[in-house]
Symmetry: C2
Subunit: 371 residues, 2 copies
């Protein structure tokens, strides 16, 4: 069985639909993965996620390795058993998180860092990262990459690309020596430099990765720059591999990236902004804490049929969030993830039905109204 | 239709079962009401409560009056519409909360106090409290009482009883002038002084209250004192009225009070301790944050069939609570309320089946094992 099969293409842009096969079932792309960093999509249970038809979630090897520790997760029967989640799981390798820390020491062999939780010292190698992700039981593991920082200059980014390439090779070798049903994706680095992205892709597309993460993007650069480098990158990527934009989750951004041929997304944003009172609706983002919703007994989004919109009002959820009630955070998070799932569904349907261009145009027009 | 009908009695103690009729349906007693102070049982949705077979909840007139304000709740169709809760609701009058504040000024007409939220000055009279509870749409309202403090001496408590009696009369008159389907319960004060409790009951049982709250108890006095005064008080209360112990919720305490003839309970404790990591089980209370549960993949309570116990492990919930994940607080709260509901169910069944004494004995024996 092919690990990724393209099932539809837009006539007017690079947007495409596909089916990604994993040990825990098939995933329809383009797909958005809610973020379950340390084993929970914040405020939501696995039952909630199933009800919303979430197809796949992403967890984080770095966080789970530090807490509760991979030993516990292994004993629980992997992340699926631990969380009681029966559908596919991706794990990020932890590269991004580790390189976000201070006092990181990079060696050819791996990276030294200190835990933010207790200051303990840790050394992670590409092999160890794959081993950790293996013991977590991820369906899709990400290669351990050297993630440059936003302010790194070209020589620094070049260095990170070369390291990332060598580490990708080591991840793959380790994975081959410990075969299983799990998939391993590579991560493309290269910052905003076309030459470096090209170098990274040229070499990495020769390796046996069924998919590629686009790393080191959406870390503070203007979105035009992101778009431009993604456009360039996707143009060079092999057609038959999965393209995963790491860390992007607002509707207009997702739409732009689907147009450029991205298949997979993840982002903590929909739940993060939910907890600060932002609600994503088909007419745009609204700040539900605002006084104007005090006496608004309509649902969060009158075009939404989620259980929150069917049962609760803006006035009630505003009251809950303004009084720091946990239920408010949960109801708003539920809606935002539900919205994103339906949004991805409509993207897939419209690509298949050859109406994606129209859907995209209408969505963009309407989404800005409520802003 | 009778507002309260006794359906069963224990042969060996004062325990009894009954059916309390309210505008939103009938309630089987003895009944425990989860506390939805400002319109939510903390961390839980109305759907969760229905699933757990919660019969009736209690909200708080004082808190709702300050935030979001009764105007909003009225426009939402009362607390039932606001919360999307279709079953009975009790509201506490706010007496207890107001008398817990500093700088309270008591006059014959009512009480001056300052809001903790914004320092604004408010004057609440018995009439206003009933009007507020009426606009909230409570099925059962509580009379506005003068709640003495734990350290008040006998003359002070005597004063509070006399004021409470006059205010009870005024609440009742106001309620008669504004008739509706709502019920109004009186509140018995008198501290730990039998003479004062007796005085309060003698007068208040002449008034047309279908039920009585036992107020000013469980506020720090030794439980033996509470028990002794409850025993005395219940002995004087009319058999055919509902007896409601205000603010008690741990299993052994509930059991003791049911034995003394109490019908109704409320307490924030089961959800409060859930959020600090305490789990109530049939073998006693456990601190789920403890290291001993790190690798414990059994359910919170192996005798419980709630969705949390069927789907998640102690190790997982411990991890969530120790990493401040909201889902952990919710799962533990869900279990604690579910436990309490099943506990009350078993109490009712055993009273009806004439096995209450046995149930009580076995429960107490087993509950202490896991402590």
């Amino acid at each position: 069985m092919k690990r990724f099969r393209i099932t539809g293409k837009s006539g007017s842009c690079r947007a495409r639909t596909g089916i990604l096969s994993t040990p825990h079932g098939r995933v329809q792309t383009p797909c958005f993965m809610p973020v379950a960093t340390i084993g929970t999509v914040k405020t939501l249970s696995s039952e909630d996620l199933v009800k919303m038809k979430v197809q796949m979630i992403i967890s984080n090897a770095y966080h789970l390795y530090l807490k509760p520790g991979t030993g516990i997760i292994e004993k629980a029967g992997g992340i699926h058993g631990f969380m009681n989640w029966k559908r596919p799981v991706v794990t990020d390798s932890g590269g991004f998180q580790i390189f976000s820390l201070e006092n990181v020491k990079v060696e050819e062999e791996g990276v030294w860092f200190r835990s933010k939780l207790d200051g303990s010292s840790h050394f992670i190698t590409p092999e160890k990262s794959v081993a950790i992700q293996g013991s977590i039981g991820a369906d899709i593991m990400m290669a351990f990459d050297y993630c440059p920082r936003r302010w790194d200059d070209e020589p620094e980014v070049k260095k990170s690309v070369e390291t990332t390439l060598r580490w990708a090779g080591r991840c793959l070798s380790f994975h081959r020596e410990h075969p299983g049903k799990q998939r391993l994706f590579g991560i493309i680095q290269g910052g905003i430099y076309e030459k470096l992205r090209a170098r990274c892709i040229e070499e990495m597309s020769q390796m046996d990765f069924p998919g590629f993460g686009l790393g080191g993007l959406s870390i503070g650069e203007p979105f035009e720059e992101t778009s431009s480098i993604v456009d360039f990158t996707v143009g060079m990527l092999p057609e038959d591999r999965v393209r995963y934009f790491m860390g992007l989750g607002m509707p207009l951004q997702i739409l732009g990236m689907v147009e450029m041929g991205i298949d997979l997304f993840d982002c903590g944003m929909p739940t993060h902004i939910a907890r600060t009172g932002s609600t994503i609706t088909w007419k745009g983002k609204v700040n539900i804490k605002a006084g104007r919703y005090k006496n608004d007994f309509s649902p969060l989004d009158d075009e939404c049929d989620c259980f929150v919109c069917r049962n609760y009002s803006r006035a009630y959820i505003r009251h809950l969030i303004n009084t720091n009630e946990i239920l408010g955070l949960r109801l708003n998070s539920y809606h935002n993830i539900y919205f994103t799932m339906r949004f991805m569904e409509k993207i897939r349907e419209s690509i298949k039905g050859s109406t994606f261009e129209k859907f995209s145009k209408n969505f963009k027009k309407k989404y800005n109204i409520g802003r």
